[in-house]
């Protein structure tokens, strides 16, 4: 247990230091949200209707940033070898690294989303819906991404390949995330239906992805 806490602290600390890229996700998120009105024009009704979808796509792309380095930097500097030589199962190490990565990069997106939503003319319930759906949905993106990060761990330019590999698997998360966020501000679907499906996707990803990612890392030798 102490080892896992130490790993979590190290990961968060690294993400916050220079070059760690912890804050880059939020900046990228802000830029994506900012350029959207320039692309589709200042129609407030249109913006508020597609706002939740824009926020979700922006969060999806922003959460991909830095994910390719999740295991790669530890692979390059030999840390991964040593982590594999502890009593702690590799699956738990993967899970803790994912949780730390989400805390450093996903959680800031969740916190920033309601603020950025104001720029897309979202109303109160919609802002709450987006934030709630991102809060339970983004961990699934990190855990699914961990599989891609583990598969491309030894490729020097693996970032794009990782994105191509995992984006199709994030489609269900995107569907239920956007539909929960949209349902919060009215509509025909009750909020809890897509929201609970989103929760289930996240729990499933958290339970299964560490095994897949650990298997990929072990195969690397």
């Amino acid at each position: 247990m102490g080892a896992l806490v130490a790993l979590f602290v190290r990961e968060v600390r690294l993400a916050r230091r220079i070059g760690g890229g912890g804050a880059m996700g939020v900046v990228f998120f802000l830029i994506l949200v900012t350029i959207t009105p320039f692309a589709i024009g200042p129609d407030l009704n249109l913006l508020s209707r597609i706002g939740p979808a824009i926020l979700w796509i922006a969060a999806l792309l922003a959460s991909l940033l830095g994910l390719d380095r999740l295991f790669q930097s530890d692979h390059e500097d030999g840390s991964l070898d040593l982590l594999r030589m502890t009593d702690t199962p590799l699956e738990l190490i993967v899970a803790v690294k994912c949780l730390a990565h989400w805390t450093a990069t996903g959680l800031p997106l969740v916190i920033a989303a309601p603020l950025f939503g104001l720029m897309l003319a979202l109303d109160g319930p919609a802002l709450g819906g987006v934030a709630a759906s991102l809060l339970v949905g983004t961990p699934a993106l990190t855990f699914i991404g961990a599989i891609g990060a583990a598969l491309t761990v030894s490729l020097r330019r693996g970032g794009l390949l990782m994105a191509v590999l995992i984006l199709p698997f994030t489609v269900p998360v995107l569907i239920f995330g956007v539909s929960a966020a949209g349902a919060a501000s009215g509509g025909t679907v009750p909020f809890w239906t897509p929201f609970l499906a989103l929760c289930a996707l996240t729990l499933g990803a958290m339970a299964l992805a560490p095994f897949a990612a650990a298997a990929a890392l072990r195969g690397e030798g």
Binding site: A6, L7, R10, R17, I18, S73, D77, D81, M85, T86
Partner: protein
């Protein structure tokens, strides 16, 4: 130097190990038994399989055939959780300080009975750099910071892959002292090297040229 005493019952045993990398067989039918306090120096030309042997012993690679295990270690006889592995990469994060790196490895590898990070760094004459980010260190200093890991987390088996790389003469002597102390306290060392490490009475395993 090292106060920790390891069980005298420990023995590292390899039974007809065969090494392969990328589908190519490097060495076959390696058998040896290393008891507490013994060192094995692995020599051979580049590509002979020295690093592969160490990675197999560390449990990071599957051997092509045969087994390697640690006798006398209790029910499960895995080597990995009882071994240190020093490789070409130092397993240090350049954004963290030397002490932060060492503390992390001490907590992760199990530090019961080990030295404090500062004390271990002093053994390799690096105490003055304890609070510097690793990114500022030279190659030799990084290597010494990596070697200090051996002392903060006591583990009976040391698997050393070219441990003297980038070390100056004084540091090589300190490394030799650390290895001697480890053997005295009942540790085991398997070292792959091209240069003499100053290990007295070490057994030698010569791996052949790559074919």
């Amino acid at each position: 130097m090292s106060a920790h005493i390891f069980s005298r019952a420990l023995a590292l045993r390899a039974d007809s190990l065969a090494l392969a990398r990328g589908g190519r067989t490097l060495a076959g039918d390696l058998s040896f038994r290393l008891t507490a306090g013994e060192a094995l120096v692995v020599t051979g030309p580049n590509g002979a399989g020295k690093s592969t042997l160490l990675r197999v012993l560390a449990g990071l690679l599957e051997p092509a055939a045969g087994t390697a295990r640690l006798e006398g270690a209790g029910e499960d006889d895995e080597i990995a959780p009882r071994a240190h592995y020093i490789a070409h990469a130092e397993a240090q994060k350049s954004a963290l300080t030397v002490t932060e790196n060492l503390e992390f490895w001490a907590q992760t590898l199990g530090a019961a009975g080990g030295m404090a990070p500062r004390e271990a760094l002093a053994q390799f004459a690096l105490a003055h750099a304890a609070d510097l980010p690793v990114g500022y260190l030279s190659a030799g200093q990084r290597r010494r910071a990596g070697l200090a890991r051996l002392l903060v987390a006591p583990r009976p088996v040391w698997l050393l892959d070219e441990p003297a790389t980038a070390l100056d003469a004084a540091s090589q002597r300190r490394l030799a002292e650390a290895m001697a102390a480890h053997l005295t306290s009942g540790g085991l060392i398997v070292a792959a090297t091209h240069v003499p490490l100053g290990l007295e009475g070490a057994r030698e395993l010569q791996l052949g040229a790559a074919s």
